[in-house]
Symmetry: D2
Subunit: 337 residues, 4 copies
């Protein structure tokens, strides 16, 4: 089999997930090197997966002669730079979302990718979740007819530390960005306008840090459909990830995933298990699927299912959302670029 | 048993529903007279329910000496006038929604009711649907904690004739008004701001008549909660009526009602029945409950569960929604009154 | 409209249900007389439903000149005799199940009905439950293919007093008899053999009275299908009534009915309402449907959907079940008659 | 980490599943050798998982000096012999079910294991399925109270070739044996009596081969509970694996697993995905769990969760089931040994 040789930059939580998939579930892949500024952590990860080459400097991964593709799992503020350097080194790239918080910076990275003629896929893993993929397939198959209303519910089980907002770009940039991508993906059309009604209801510290923790986001699509995302940073019952698409021929919805399908009937009611608690559980299969698909596409020189442009457009929507919060009015995405 | 003697004005679709409930399911009630401008129709209804007194003129019902309470099921544009006359005649009043499309007219009717010291209940029947009543109870019992996000899905199986919009006041006034009342009811707080993103996706004739058929409506509540209603005039799979309330301690949602609970597993998938098709099926129990509760409250001189003020406030929200569509911006309800 | 004039014998729990349906929901029906040995109770019921003629002696109902059809809701040991007398008086008959506990007595009643040429319907109301009717329809429509396996779960919320067993004929005759009829109805074939594994697990007093309270009953059908019924006298979570039919082309199952469709997500799990608690709630619609269908069939001289023979055959199965418990072996129904 | 070195005998379907789990998901495990009479197949499997030592003779695995534990995935008729030889070689053993079709042979193998003082676990993987494990936990936690009724539905998507029955020991020995183990596991008590009503409804060739393809099996447990298993060799809608336990304090049931949680509402009904199609999909997690637990228990010298005695007892029940079919009567398990 023709194997793809990969180097992984960043061996934190998501880095480990991708390495495990590549080593255990992608026969086409071989991880030849990893790097992390935390060298000790990187060594531990490398050992447990039988990877022999470990660096503290990401450049050593990018420039490693055997590495054909780079998987970027480092902090957001390094993504664009690493993309540029990897592209210049002629390496294909898988990069975690978001590419960056700044549009010019993202555009610069995409330009470098285009110039180098390498492939770039952005890690919108949820597209590869079996539930959402099924909904998308029903849309593509025409079962929904013309899309009229999209609904996404996306609630985290617990908020990050308030100070995280400053680094991450805030809720729209670190959490809702997945929903913005999902909205574009399911409806199959670009978002032209955003209106946000937001609130700080979960944790005052989040508000003090200049972010929000609760939001209802209205989207307008180029094809005439409209949509709504509702977000909360804290659902006490766990990770709530649902989507619904309504159109001229029908409606399809996807419920959460649960650890089991039991129901318990007692004298005081019927009881069941809570949804899978967070993204590592809920999207485990999605993470594996996206990495398989990335390797498959690179090895076979096929188009990637999430482009750099997808990464850019979700950031545009997030910026429009932030502007809508500030100005308390609907904001067109054309105002952003 | 102390019986309440009622007169019913209007023997069309909803009039018949209320008469059937009163005759068959409310032992405390006695329908002593009915009226409709369509006298032949009124006679047919009266005969089938064993009611001996029939008029073509509503005044004869209001002024009938035995009638203690009037049930107003005539067209919307007659509601306010009949309320005023019934109040002046000292009769208690049950009036279908909306009270009127004009705030001053509604206020005039409410003033007449207040002056006369009679009871007035507005027909927001959905409050008495077992599903929505259960959700409300969970909120009241503190099971949700502080409400953060309200979601209402309300879609009709088929649009009314486009020309109906002119008479009815449009989608927000004839259809969403139920959702506006439900929003206030579930959250337990007043709506302070409305933003509507609407579209004409179902039938162009509706747009030509100046109305919309698809909408996502963002609500802001005085207690800090936010909410969203999504509406469509046409769901090919039937009548879609769901509510969800999310708060600091949990989330509760109510699904549609179905004619049966079967599931059929065939080689091509798992199949089930569609939701109950329209409001007469879905809310049959709610209609019966509201009429029982009205009679019970009047007979026992108890407070009514839906006041005239509830009728007025839902119209305020509907007017704010219409203004938001026109001006494409969030509109405060305080701008309306 | 051509009205059917009925007399009701027995104004206890089930008698009241049927009277309410006839008075409130069957425009074709008129209840002209009722009787009960408890005259005071009968008078109270008659008053509340506006029935003017009340007797203590059932013969007065049967012989009432206006009465065209008799509804027998008296204790089981009177059913056969009243059927015979009503038939001899030329009256059509609706009789609660079981017709009797003795096959010769039942046969005598059926003979009298046949001789008189009147109509007799036995009150297997569950056939008219929307869930079970849907399952039957799927079988009739060929959606299941050849039936292979039938499963019925039938559990009561609480056992009757132990002494009731002696009067009722025991669990198989007062409770499972509904399931025996449902089994024949759904599969569309006669039961040829019965094997029962039973136990006394709910209440020792039931065992001392010679009855059982828990059972798994295996059925063999003439068409080759096999089936199983599981019974308990006490389900702490309420009334549990489910059916499943599995065949060569698919499987269909019907779940319980619930008072609402809410789900509540809290930190400790997902919670919902218990099933409707007992037969008066669960089968309210079924009771109304059966009475409408009876009146409609009599008025229009149509065949009845549950015959006297259906009443007899379910008793044969119940007797085979009792024999199987005693002899701890499979018993053919041909051994019974 | 202290690693367990394993040798796998048999690299067919289930062998591959266990090897994949051991290599990819059990950090404590190292597969040092595999063997299969089909050497070419074994080599292919070994290569794809990076295993360097491959034999055609199982003895080479058992006697391999590094191998500490043997995983037996060869045909049933070899199980007992390999267990004996592995035990004599002082190796711990994981053996697929059933151990053998003959009780004396099984007993001989268990004696060898006992004499050698090695650990033996039999592959009843379903105990480690999250659904069934949850049901078991509810029983253990006392949430069900005293168990009264156990129900297991177990239907395959398609029958094996008729000739397979002769080799496998028939449906009770190759398919229902899982259900017999599950019954003992969930109820927590031994089966004392078995009654089977069976039929040949799926494929006449199965009947000609002396086997059955459809069955309802009544079980009596030592603790007084009763139970029923229904089996079919062919469910057109896929693999149907459900369990329900009913007791004095409540009821718990586990539904099938589905590839996704979508629902599609169209004009003709509500539609969803079929259950996961067969055991490799449905029980993938269970297979992984059992292998992890086996390795963990051996490495840490803990008791195994499925003993050789569990393997023997399920065969006793299967033999009682076969005898019940032949003699058409309830058969006590005490008649078998």
């Amino acid at each position: 089999m023709n194997k793809l040789k990969l180097g992984v930059i960043g061996t934190g939580r998501i880095g480990k997930v991708h390495i495990a998939t590549l080593v255990q579930n992608v026969p086409q892949a071989e991880v030849v090197a990893v790097a992390d500024v935390n060298l000790a952590g990187a060594i531990e990860v490398a050992n447990s997966f039988g990877i022999s080459t470990v660096f503290s400097n990401y450049k050593d991964v990018i420039n490693h002669p055997e590495v054909e593709a780079v998987v970027i799992c480092s902090p957001t503020d390094t993504h664009a730079q690493y993309i540029v350097e990897a592209a210049q080194a002629g390496k294909h790239i898988f990069c975690e979302k978001p590419v960056d918080l700044s549009l010019p910076v993202i555009q610069g990275a995409l330009d470098a990718v285009a110039k180098a003629g390498v492939k770039l896929m952005v890690g919108f893993n949820r597209r590869f979740d079996p539930n959402f993929a099924k909904i998308k397939q029903l849309v593509v198959d025409g079962k929904i007819g013309d899309p009229h209303i999209l609904k996404i519910t996306s609630r985290d089980p617990a908020p990050p530390p308030a100070e995280y907002s400053a680094v991450s770009g805030g809720m729209f940039m670190d959490m809702t960005i997945h929903d913005f991508d999902m909205a574009r993906y399911i409806v199959g059309s670009e978002v032209t306008e955003v209106y946000v009604k937001s609130a700080v209801l979960v944790d005052e510290a989040i508000g003090k840090a200049g972010d929000v923790d609760t939001a209802i986001i209205t989207l307008t699509f180029a094809n005439g459909a409209i949509g709504v995302i509702d977000n909360s940073r804290k659902a006490v019952y766990g990770y709530d990830q649902r989507v619904e698409i309504f159109g001229s021929k029908g409606m399809a919805c996807a419920d959460n995933n649960y650890p089991d399908n039991h129901r318990y009937f007692a004298g005081d009611g019927v009881h069941g298990s809570l949804p899978l608690n967070f993204f590592m559980d809920r999207y485990l299969e999605a993470y594996a699927n996206e990495m398989k698909i990335f390797c498959h596409a690179v090895v076979n020189n096929l188009p990637l299912q999430v482009s750099g442009d997808d990464g850019l457009k979700s950031v545009v929507i997030a910026l429009a959302a932030k502007k809508s919060v500030l100005e308390q009015r609907p904001v067109k995405t054309s105002e952003i670029r």
